[in-house]
Structure formats: structure tokens, C-alpha cells
Amino acid sequence: MTYFPEEVVEHIFDFLESHRHRNTVSTVCKAWYRVERLSRRSVFVGNCYAVRPERVVVRFPGVRSLSVKGKPHFADFNLVPHDWGGFALPWIEAFARGCPGLEELRLKRMVVSDESLELLARSFPNFKVLVLVSCEGFSTDGLAAIATHCRVLRELDLQENEVEDRGPQWLSCFPDSCTSLVSLNFACLKGDVNAGALERLVARCPNIRTLRLNRAVSVDSLSKILARAPHLVDLGTGSFTMDHRAEAYHRLMNNFTKCKSLKSLSGFWDASPRCLPAVYPICRNLTGLNLSYAPAIQGADLIKLIRLCLKLQRLWVLDCIGDKGLAVVASTCKELQELRVFPSDVCGAGTAVVTEEGLVAISSGCPKLNSLLYFCHQMTNAALITIAKNCPHFTRFRLCILDPGKPDPVTNQPLDEGFGAIVQSCKDLRRLSLSGLLTDQVFLYIGMYAECLEMLSIAFAGDSDKGMMYVLNGCKNMRKLEIRDSPFGDAALLEDVGKYETMRSLWMSSCDITLRGCKTLAAKMPRLNVEVINERDESDEMEENPSDLHRVEKMYVYRTVAGPRNDAPDFVWTL
């Protein structure tokens, strides 16, 4: 192969779509390395601190699409202090200097300042796609910069970000000449938008296919937008509250009827049950439905809606759907692949809830199910075993029993057997989250059977170091391991220090590891960053020279070729 001209080799590499394949071929020989790096158009950096941005730019000067992830996953649940890090600016600066042809940027769990957005907007003349997921640190002013300067912007996708509202004018910053938008998602913005500007923007972008509005957009506005953009494929409604007897409602239903291409619906902020029938006309074609922001819609109304959605593949709901509602889903949605059931009432005064029965029904009615996130009040081993038998194709299985450490209510046993059945049956399982009462046994099963497992989330589980050791010894494809409130200590941490270089990261909080254990790990593995996170409310003793026997509350370990980071705040020690 090396006798082929480089153009041919490059052309062959074009067929390699996954990052892993391209990474692999670049290691074959120097010639391939060179061809690969110059022809690489897309780079994915799973941990922003694993490599310096300048390095990436030097190696891949032709990159058009960059994806970077920042904070550890548990940051979503407030376990990572606010200013831990994950800044986007160094990346944007490095690329602005060395790779001005960048067209797409996707960031997840990073701190993005308005300054970085402005730099981004001005530095890349061909910039087309900006996707920010679970990011923070910017305001609508930053969005205004993007709107103003990115002349060929195709996608602006803001998912679940924390955005400071500085007024609605950002939307008006899209110049009249901007007609290229294909996807616009600002559902996470809390402030008002200028309805007129929005409607005009939609009207002049004939290719718009994804539009997710925020809560401030009224039904009237939605109606007008639908009339102008009947080719929408993915819609997030704004505030879905209206008088169902009024003219506006009928107009809306009428406009929905015209949207023949609509496949995915979300939003439904403040939706009341009587308004739901407005979408009945399009339910038949829906493949995706997200009703998880509509707590006022209870079981019976959900059921009526779902009975019409025969082609549904992805469903996100609140647990007020109840077991009965899930049974209806099971009998109606035979194409279902992904299900997420969120808790609607975190505080206690609940209405309907879901239990193991709902999930068993789903598993028996929806054999194509491969991705699950399920918050419930209880689960049994028998149910999990049945589910494992019915649905052997799970790739993502995340079960959260709301009461930490709760056993099987029927047998009072731990849920080891149930989860064991899941990992044994689901040979393609890549992601698993555990909950309920669990002993070391479940980790033995996971180590034995979960060969493809890449991400494991553990909370309030296990009895001893053995549990963690089973996982580290067994799961050869493990990439991300996150553990909280489990009795794993230094012995488990240091069992196989080389393992962590084969993984992206390890998070341990409220476990039994000590400072000595962390220091030992850091000393043995220079290519790992071992970060110990000490928050302010520890005793003063911590600030001085804490003893090595001191228990470490939060530790984050990740492999890196960039060395210790230089932007760590005071409370983060890189050992």
C-alpha cells in the first residue's frame, strides 16, 4: 500500500469514518501518518485537558470540524465545583491562529465566555455549525456576535446551556442576508425573543429543518412560523398554553396539519392537556417525542396522544405517565428504540409513579429498545431478568431507583442478579448506570460479562475494594468510570494503575480513598493527571499540610499528554 501515491491513500482514508479507525491507520507507518494527518477533517477530543489545543492544530492543520468535551459527567449533578475549569477560549484561540478554515465546533460541558464567542465569530470566515451542550459562561451578547458575523451559519444548536439573558436583540442580529440556516435551537434561553424578528428569520431561510423555540415564544408566533416553514422536520414548541376554544388553537392545528415532514416534537412548555389535540394530526409520522417538560400533562392525556404515535422511535416522558401509560406505549410503539422516563416530582408529593412493571411491559412490547434512562421508585431482580431476556440489544441502560441503596422490595435482596442478567444478556452494552442495593457481586458480573462496556456509573453500591477491582480487571473497553458514595479505597484504586492509561477518566467522590493513595497513583503514573478537589467548606486543617491519611472527598484522574494543567483553580490540586 505504501507504493501508492499519497492521493490514493488519502482517498482510501476518506472511507474511514470513525475517529478510531483513522487514529489506527495513522500508526502504521510515517507515510500513512502524514497522509492521515493532512487529510483529517474532523477531530474529536474527549477530554479537553488530555492534549494541548496547539498540538492538535499543528498535527491536523486541515481540520474543519472540532468536538471537545470539558467537565466530568457528574458536573451535571452539581458534584463538580462551579469554576473547576473546562475553558473553551484556549481552543478557539489556537484554532483561530492555526486553522482558520474551521467550519464546525461542538463543545460539551465547557465554560464558554462571550469573548470566546466573539473571537469565534470573527476568526472563521467559513464557520457553519456551532453546537453547545451543557455549557455555561456566556450570554445572549455572545450569541449576537455569532449571529452578526457568521455569514454562512447553518446550525446554531444550544442544548441545555446556562445562558445569561441580556435581552432579545441577539436574534435580530442575523442580517437580512442570512438565509442559510438549517437548524436553530434556542430552547434553553430563558428570556424573551422578538417574535417579529424570529418569524422573519424563519421566513427567509428556506432550508430550515430543525427549529426549537424557547418558552417565551407564544402559540400565536408558533402558528405563524409553522405557516412559513411547513417543511420542518424537528420542532420544539415554545409555550404551549392557550385557550383550546379560541381561534388561535384551530389555526395552530390547521398549520400543524400542513407540516407533512414533521418527525420530531419537543417543548410543550406549560402545556395543558386540552391543547394537546392540536398535534394529533401529525402524530402518525412522529419518530421522536419529548414531553418531559410538561408536568401538567398526566397519564390519561399522555395515553391518548401516544396511541396515535405508531412510528415512535424515541420517547422522553415524565414518570406521571405511570405504569399504565407505559403499557400503552408498549402496545403501540413497536418501533421504540430509546426511552427516557424522568422523575416529575423530586420533592415527594407525587401523583402517579413508575415501577418495574412499566419497564417490563415496555421490554416485552418493544423488542428494538436499545437505549434506556429510567427513574423509578422500585425495581426487582425478577423484572430485570425478564427485561434482559426480552431486550438483548441494549447499548445504553441507565436505571435510577430514586431511593439510594433500595433492595428488591419483594425479596429484600440486593439487585446484583438483576443487573447481572442485564450485562450477561446485552452483549453490546456500552453504557450502564447502576442503582439500588448492590453488593460486590454485581461488579463481579460486570467484570465477567460486560465486554463492550465503555462507561459505568456507580452510586451507593458495593461492599469492599473487590467490587471496583472486579470492574477494573474485567472491563477491557472501559473508558469512563464514575463512582460516588461507595466503599472503595486505596487498595482498589492502586490495584492496576496501568489501567487508567487505557481509559479516558476516573471520577471518585465520597469514597474511601486517601491522599496517600492519590499521591501514590500520581507518582506511579506520570502520564495521568490526578486531581484532588477540595472545596472551601473543609476544615482549615486541609489548607495546610493535610495528612496523607486524610480521606479525599473528590478525585478526578485522566490520562493526558499535556501534563498538569495551568488553569486549575486553588481548590484543585494536581498531584
Partner: protein, 345 residues
């Protein structure tokens, strides 16, 4: 295993032969010449070893989907694995060999810790996925397996496997707030309480501040029921009319009321239908009636004023025995009537 290898592919493609895990080895090596050279040489070294190695069958076997064969191959593969070779990829091998070569102690430790593991392997083969098996039998077998491991492994803590009463594992009461639990994003916590679009944005959306559950804009008022020492709280903003409120009250107190009446039945959560529901809270027909206290401290019957007005006025709720309502303080009733007529004006 060789048969699997040949069955799988006619002509193994180079890319398939190169296991594609452990990409970090390659990706993160930036232009640094020295570092790269070293790694490249090692990769070449290892690659020469690969095609003939015993691990290829395991790798190819892994790619098969036959459940029957996988039972056998699982057994074989696992034995390979527990003998210390990690067969999956070049990079991992290098990493692992490094570990093995430089840290033989660790390796030996692993060997020692595996007897229980291997024991389970033998059983694991028998337990292989019975796609048409019975659930109970599987679970029984696993339990037997589990307890044999518990006996077999060296220092298994006694509360392994079958233990149901792990004192450190007793489930926490639902009311104990745990930081970051349940694992949902902040904006989902506040959903039920921020059900109106006019609510200001500071707290209604995503929060990064570390706040336990009730950080949102809910309107929580205390609610007490006659005869029940435990008071609860209810979020008035979670409802948009009088329809749902009595249901919520029922939910809050049904269990407690049943427990009061029959303490022996208290732990039983499985049959909510068996507990008598609290009904007729608003229409005066039930055993209990719902009243509220406004900001002036007056007690009023719930249901008289428009819902929104009620939400803005109610500072506290009480579930009173209907019999006591009529008997007790006519003054209260009088106050009720006065306020009612005032509202109607």
C-alpha cells in the same frame, strides 16, 4: 476457536485485524518527533507478533454473535483473559505489558485474586445465556453460583451476595436530601414548580449553584391534618386548578392516615388501594374538609375563590375533620362566610 476465525471472514481485512481500541496512543501524540518515534517502533514490534498469536481467535470469536458458541468461546476467552493477556488491541497490550513487565507484583496479585473469578468461569459456562430459559431458574443458579463464590474467595466479607441487611446499605429515607441525587439536571428539578412562563428567569431555568432539591420557584405551604402529628408541604404552583389539589392531599396523607389507624399495616407499600382514600375535601361531603389560612390568619374553606386568588392568599393549609369544622368555633365559620361574601362582591 480457529474454526470461528475462519468462519468469520473470508479474508481478514487489515483494518479488522487491527483492533481499533486504545486510540489515545495515537491521537494524543502530537508532532513531537521523539515521543512519536518510540511509540511507533513499539507498535511495529507488537504488530509482527499479532497474526500468529493465540489471541486472534479470541478477538475474532468476540466478533461472532452466535449465542451458543459464545458460551464456549466465553469460557475459553475468559480463561485467556484471566491468564493475564489482554487480547483486545495493540495499544492495550503495550500498556498492559508495560504493567506486567515493570510491575510483576501487581500481576501476581491479580492471579491470586482470580481463583474465585475462575471458579465462577466454570459455572459461567453452564449459566450461558439461555435465551429460552426460565427466569427463576437462572436466578437460582446465579444465586448458587454467587454463594459458592462467596465461600470460595479468600476474604469475602460475610455480607457479600446473600446479605440483605447490610447496615451500611440500608436505604435512606426519601426525605434526606443528598447532594446531586437523584442524578438529574437542575432545570428538571424545578419543572413542576415553574409551570408558568411569566416566572422570572433567575431560578426557573438551569442552575449551576449547588442547591439541594427545592431551589426553584415553587410555592410550598405547610399542610397539617387533624390527628396526624407529621405535617407535610405542598407546592401550590404545581397545580393549575382545584381539581388536582385534593388528589395531592390524598397522596400526602393517605399512607400516614392508614398507619395511624392500623400501625401494623404501616410498612406495606404495595397496595395503595387498600388504604381508604381521603375524599370529599372540597364539597363538604367527606370525612375531612380542606381549609386554608390566609395572610391575616383567618381560616377559610378551600374552593370559594378563583384558583389564582387562592394561590396568592393561602399561607397554610389544614385538613380538618368535617364534624369538628361545624362544631368548632362558629366564629371561624362566620369569618368564612364574611370573607366569602366579600369575595363575591
Amino acid at each position: 476457536m480457529e474454526e470461528d476465525f475462519r468462519k468469520g471472514e473470508e479474508c481478514p481485512h487489515l483494518l479488522d485485524l487491527i483492533p481499533n481500541e486504545r486510540d489515545w496512543m495515537v491521537k494524543e501524540v502530537g508532532g513531537g518527533g521523539k515521543g512519536f518515534g518510540v511509540i511507533e517502533e513499539k507498535k511495529l514490534e507488537l504488530r509482527l507478533g499479532l497474526p500468529g498469536s493465540e489471541d486472534w481467535p479470541a478477538v475474532m470469536g468476540k466478533q461472532e454473535e452466535h449465542s451458543v458458541e459464545s458460551a464456549l468461546s466465553l469460557g475459553h476467552y475468559k480463561l485467556c483473559k484471566t491468564s493475564g493477556i489482554n487480547p483486545s488491541s495493540v495499544g492495550a497490550k503495550r500498556g498492559f505489558f508495560d504493567t506486567v513487565e515493570s510491575k510483576t507484583e501487581v500481576f501476581q496479585q491479580q492471579q491470586q485474586q482470580h481463583p474465585g473469578f475462575l471458579q465462577l468461569q466454570a459455572k459461567g459456562k453452564d449459566l450461558s445465556p439461555k435465551t429460552n430459559g426460565r427466569a427463576e431458574q437462572q436466578s437460582l443458579e446465579r444465586k448458587a453460583c454467587g454463594s459458592s463464590v462467596a465461600h470460595g474467595s479468600a476474604a469475602a466479607p460475610s455480607r457479600n451476595a446473600a446479605g440483605a441487611n447490610n447496615s451500611s446499605q440500608t436505604s435512606r429515607t426519601a426525605t434526606t436530601p443528598v447532594v446531586g441525587w437523584p442524578p438529574i439536571r437542575s432545570f428538571r428539578r424545578n419543572l413542576a414548580s415553574t409551570s408558568k412562563p411569566s416566572l422570572e428567569s433567575e431560578n426557573g431555568g438551569l442552575e449551576t449553584a449547588i442547591k439541594p432539591e427545592n431551589g426553584g420557584k415553587g410555592l410550598f405551604v405547610k399542610i397539617n391534618m387533624d390527628g396526624i402529628p407529621i405535617g407535610r408541604k405542598v407546592d401550590l404552583k404545581a397545580y393549575d386548578s382545584y381539581e388536582k389539589l385534593p388528589l395531592a392531599v390524598n397522596e400526602l396523607f393517605q399512607g400516614l392516615l392508614a398507619a395511624q389507624r392500623d400501625p401494623l399495616a404501616a410498612g406495606n407499600q404495595k397496595n395503595p388501594e387498600e388504604k381508604p382514600a381521603i375524599t370529599g375535601l372540597l364539597d363538604g361531603n367527606g370525612e375531612y374538609t380542606l381549609v386554608y389560612e390566609d395572610d391575616e390568619g383567618d381560616k377559610m374553606l378551600v374552593g370559594d375563590v378563583p384558583w389564582d386568588m387562592f394561590v396568592s392568599m393561602a399561607k397554610r393549609l389544614r385538613v380538618l375533620k368535617s364534624s369538628e369544622l361545624s362544631a368548632s368555633s362558629l366564629l371561624q365559620l362566620g369569618a368564612v362566610t364574611r370573607k366569602r361574601t366579600a369575595a363575591e362582591c
